[in-house]
């Protein structure tokens, strides 16, 4: 199974990391969309398991969660989904989700089962470094890498502590706020990338509000090791629900533009 370390070491450009909610708008379409994203040159996948109350997400991802839940996605199906993605291509997969789903499943069992399904890491949106002990050892024991978030208002001493606990990459939030497409990048992100680069060698991947090829290029130039694009792609799904078959090609075309742009940096 391909690790983050191998992936980042092998790349001469910033990694393209699209985010999708598993099962949005339904299991089969979702799988086709993700295959299209892989074909477009995704280097890592960031996948969400839908939660009823996603407090870190803006309206676009909230609606994706509702679509996925309405289409009947659950933890077992999500696991099966990951296996199917891995069967298509050995690409690193990070999960991004909320703690309650893991807690109910049983933390150790969740990590073990999802590691076996082909997951590389599980980032928990509502669990901070202060509670790292609840998950770090079980995650490492299961063979998972760890990923935590750093935000523009995270103080440097704390960011150091977080970086020490990230064996995969640092999920670097570009702005203060929830997920969602934005027209411009926040002016907080470049200083944050520099700050992180000065304290750690762990790959710095930037997400939240990253929406255009120009944003991706700007971040890559600023030193980001990866760009995570979520809401902007999920919106393609939302806008084409009456013609689901067209979505994979549209997602592929959008991600191809981004990939071509970052490869040139």
């Amino acid at each position: 199974m391909k690790s983050y370390k191998q992936t980042f070491a092998g790349l001469k450009h910033a990694a393209l990391i699209p985010f999708f909610v598993i099962g949005d708008p339904d299991f089969d379409t979702s799988l086709e969309i993700i295959k299209a994203a892989i074909d477009a040159g995704a280097d890592v996948l960031e996948l969400g398991i839908a939660f009823s109350d996603p407090i870190a997400d803006g309206p676009t991802i909230q609606k994706a969660d509702i679509r996925a839940l309405s289409s009947g996605i659950d933890i077992e199906k999500a696991k099966d989904f990951i296996k199917k993605v891995k069967a298509y291509k050995d690409i690193p997969i990070g999960l991004l989700m909320y703690y309650n789903l893991i807690f109910q499943y049983g933390t150790e069992k969740f990590f073990t089962d999802f590691a076996n399904a082909g997951t590389n890491s599980v980032l928990i949106a509502d669990l901070s470094i202060d509670d790292v002990d609840e998950i770090y050892t079980p995650a490492r024991k299961a063979g998972l890498d760890t990923v935590f978030m750093v935000t523009p208002n995270t103080e440097t001493e704390r960011a150091k502590k977080i970086a020490e606990k990230c064996t995969g990459f640092i999920y670097t939030v570009s702005l203060l706020g929830v997920t969602g497409g934005r027209d411009t990048l926040s002016d907080m992100i470049k200083p944050l990338i520099s700050r992180l680069k000065s304290i750690t060698d762990v790959p710095v991947c930037v997400g939240f509000g990253v929406s255009t090829p120009a944003h991706a290029v700007e971040l890559a130039k600023a030193g980001a090791d990866g760009v995570i694009i979520g809401s902007r792609i999920v919106r393609i799904i939302e806008e084409n629900l009456n013609d689901k078959k067209s979505i994979p090609a549209k997602v592929k075309s959008f991600l191809t533009q981004i990939k071509e742009a970052i490869v040139k940096v």
Binding site: P54, I55, T154, E155, L176, G177
Partner: protein, 389 residues
């Protein structure tokens, strides 16, 4: 964070990284000021002159005759704004002022916390935004008008169940984007640390007063203290003063909605399991996978799938006992109590009255029960009318 914010296994601060600095700042400010002489003096003056504390402990003569034992009512309904919420809002509002914050946000269910926050926003000249589920905006329209009159902006939250849970989701999302200048004035003894501790602290005045009033008026402590429990702030406020009085039984009353067995209720202590939502580990209404379930209660203020972490611990240790009463009993007691005493109880507080009524004929005549009447029922007149049709 200096403290873990744990109540046994419950509590904590399970929030996105972006909110940690704000919670740390709040924790630090709280511990800096909560015993500060100037802060305490200022708060006590506001409690007295603005809110109307101390509230009376009233012996409900006719209701006592009806149930066959002695019922005393802690009259939080007489406070400015019509509910206990003002205690917490003055405390947190003053804290916001000491911290130099100029903007307040809050969630609200029944609108009582939204109204109290709006009042305090006006009092301190702070810009105020209230997040309220669209269904609650509709069923508690009088309070919405009052909030707007105080100068607050009321944001109707669509999507989800359109009740208190979704109002909290949206307030948290707004806070993450405005965390540097905005103070989130949380309404109940729930949510991430330090809120359960802060809210409890500012509500303990209820219990401290009630305990002293019992000793002064009756010459002894009550046998039972009861309060309704949604998030649980009014209950924790009155219970906490009696923790060490082992002979005082504490009874929290949850909303059974259409009935616990129907699943259409909001009683996580009665029928929930341990989980994590809105930053805290608590008993929660959820499915097997951990998705949060829709709740149902005639009282918007109790219509929430979780409950404060300290109540979870009190349940597990057995120090407090939790029961539930359904919507029908609540509507019945609203009528009975109002006709008996000429006091309109809020539908939230009616839950504890309904439990007291259910004990009719079961308790000895010399039993002393203190009911925390956490709010007045003026806001509920429309709901009660509609339910009769």
């Amino acid at each position: 964070m200096k403290h873990s914010g744990r109540f046994g296994q419950f509590g904590g601060f399970y929030v996105p990284e972006v909110l940690i600095p704000a919670l740390e700042e709040m924790e630090q400010a709280f511990y800096k000021y909560y015993k500060d002489e100037k802060f305490v003096a200022e708060l006590n003056t506001l409690y007295k002159d603005y809110a109307g504390r101390p509230t009376p402990l009233y012996y409900a003569t006719r209701f006592s005759e009806l149930v066959g034992f002695k019922v005393y009512i802690k009259r939080e309904d007489l406070l400015h704004g019509g509910a206990h919420k003002v205690n917490n809002c003055l405390g947190q509002g003053l804290l916001a002022k000491y911290m130099g914050k100029t903007k307040l946000i809050a969630e609200t269910g029944a609108g009582q916390h939204g109204l109290a926050t709006s009042m305090i926003g006006a009092l301190f000249g702070m810009q105020t935004k209230i997040f309220m589920g669209a269904i609650d905006v509709d069923r508690q329209s009088v309070n919405v008008h009052k909030m707007k009159l105080c100068g607050a902006e009321v944001i109707s939250v669509k999507g989800g169940t359109e009740t208190l849970k979704d109002a909290i989701n949206e307030a948290l999302r707004y806070w993450t984007a405005n965390v540097t200048d905005t103070f989130y004035l949380f309404g109940t003894a729930c949510g991430p640390h330090p809120y359960p501790t802060i809210v409890k602290h500012f509500q303990t005045c209820i219990g401290t007063e009630a305990r002293a009033q019992c000793l002064e008026k009756i010459g002894k402590l009550p046998d039972i203290v009861t309060a309704c429990v949604g998030g649980g702030s009014n209950a924790i406020g009155i219970f906490s003063a009696f923790y060490d009085d082992k002979n005082v039984k504490l009874v929290g009353v949850e909303p059974a909605g259409k009935g616990i067995q129907t699943g259409k209720h909001a009683a996580p202590l009665m029928a929930g399991s341990v989980g994590i939502l809105h930053g805290t580990k608590m008993y929660l209404m959820q499915n097997k996978e951990g998705q949060i379930l829709d709740t149902e209660s005639i009282s918007a203020g109790l219509d929430y799938p979780g409950v404060g972490p300290e109540h979870c611990l009190l349940k597990d240790t057995g120090r407090a006992q939790y029961v539930a009463v359904d919507d029908k009993s609540v509507l019945d007691i609203f009528d009975i109590f109002t006709k008996c005493e000429g006091i309109l109880p809020a539908l939230e507080s009616s839950h504890s009255l309904a439990w007291v009524y259910s004990q009719k004929g079961k308790l000895p005549a010399d039993t002393i029960v203190v009911v925390n009447l956490s709010g007045r029922g003026d806001k509920d007149v429309d709901i009660v009318e509609r339910s009769r049709k």
